[in-house]
Assembly symmetry: C2
Homo-oligomer: 157 residues x 2
Amino acid sequence: MTGEALPPEAAWFDSWRGIVFTHARMLDEIGRRLEQHSGISLAFLDVLGRLYDAPDRRLRMQELQRRSLFTRSGMTRVVDRIEEAGLVQRERVPGDRRGVWVVITSKGVRTYEAAMRRHTRDIEEVFGGTMSEAEHRAVGDALWWAWHDEEPVAPPA
Amino acid sequence: MTGEALPPEAAWFDSWRGIVFTHARMLDEIGRRLEQHSGISLAFLDVLGRLYDAPDRRLRMQELQRRSLFTRSGMTRVVDRIEEAGLVQRERVPGDRRGVWVVITSKGVRTYEAAMRRHTRDIEEVFGGTMSEAEHRAVGDALWWAWHDEEPVAPPA
DNA sequence: CTACAGTAGTTGACAAGACAGATACTTTCA
DNA sequence: TGAAAGTATCTGTCTTGTCAACTACTGTAG
C-alpha cells in the first residue's frame, strides 16, 4: 500500500491504493466526529447496529462475532465496555447455560438511532463531496460484493 | 458503518460501505501474509517504503509522521521497533540538534524490496480477483484523488 | 451412567497506538 | 545578550485488541 517501488501498472493496484488511502483519510475524521457528538466509538456503533437490526434486538456472542471483524475475545471486551456504558445487557440463554444473549437496551436504541443519524450526515459531509454521484455509484457497484458476499475472501491459511 | 437503519439511498453511502468492508476484509489477510513471509507488519512496510522512496533514503521523524498512513501518532515507538529489528537507524541531523534522521539500512533495503515484491503479489491474489478489470479501473479512477491530493480532506475540527 | 470430544464464552499476559505532558534544543526580538 | 516563544522528539500512561489457555457446560457413544 505504500512504496511506489516496483508496482505493476495493473488496474487492481490503483484500485487497492485508492481504497486504502481513502479509508485512512476518512475514517479518522468520521470516528472523531462520532465520538464527539455521540460519545461512542465506531466499534460500538457497529455492534449496536448488529443488535438493532437483529430479530428481537438480541444476538449470541458468536453471532455478533461472526458478523463483525472482532475475534472471540475481542468481542468479549467490546461487549464488556458497551455494557458498562449501559447500552447493552447480557442475558442467560434459556436451555444453554454456556451461552449469552447480548440485548440492546432502550438507552442503547436511543443512542444508536441518534448516533446513526448524525453519523450518516458525517459521512455525507466528509466523504460525499469527494466524488461525483456517478463516481460514487461506480465505486458502490464495484464493491457491492464486499458486504453482500458472506464468504470470507481468503482461506484462513 | 454498519446498521442498515435509516440510511438514505444516496450513492455515497454504498460507496462508503464498500470501501470500509473491502478494506477490512482484505487488509487482515494481506497483513497476515506479509507477517508470515517477511516477518514485518504493514506499519513497518509503510515506513520502510517512505524511506526507500525518499531522497537519500532518509527522512526526519516529522516527515515520516506526516506521510504515514498507518501510524499517525507514535512514530517514535514504531521507529524504535524498526530500529531494533535493524532495518533503520537514527542519525543526528547536523545543524539541528533537536532533529533526527531516520535512515533505512541496507538490510532494510533488502527486506523492503523482497517484502514489497511478495506483498504486491499478495494483493493481486487476495484482491485482484474480486472484480473485473473494468471495475478495478473504475474504482481506481474514482479514488485517484485520495493519494494524489495532498490536502487533508476535513479540517481538524 | 460415564468418559470424551465439542462448543460458548471469559481471562491473563502482552503488543500496538493514542494522548498529554516533558525535555532539549532554536529562533526571534527587545 | 537574554528572555520568551516555537520546534522536534521522547516518555508515561491509558485504551484497544490479540493470542493462548482456561472454565463451564452440552452432546454422544460405549
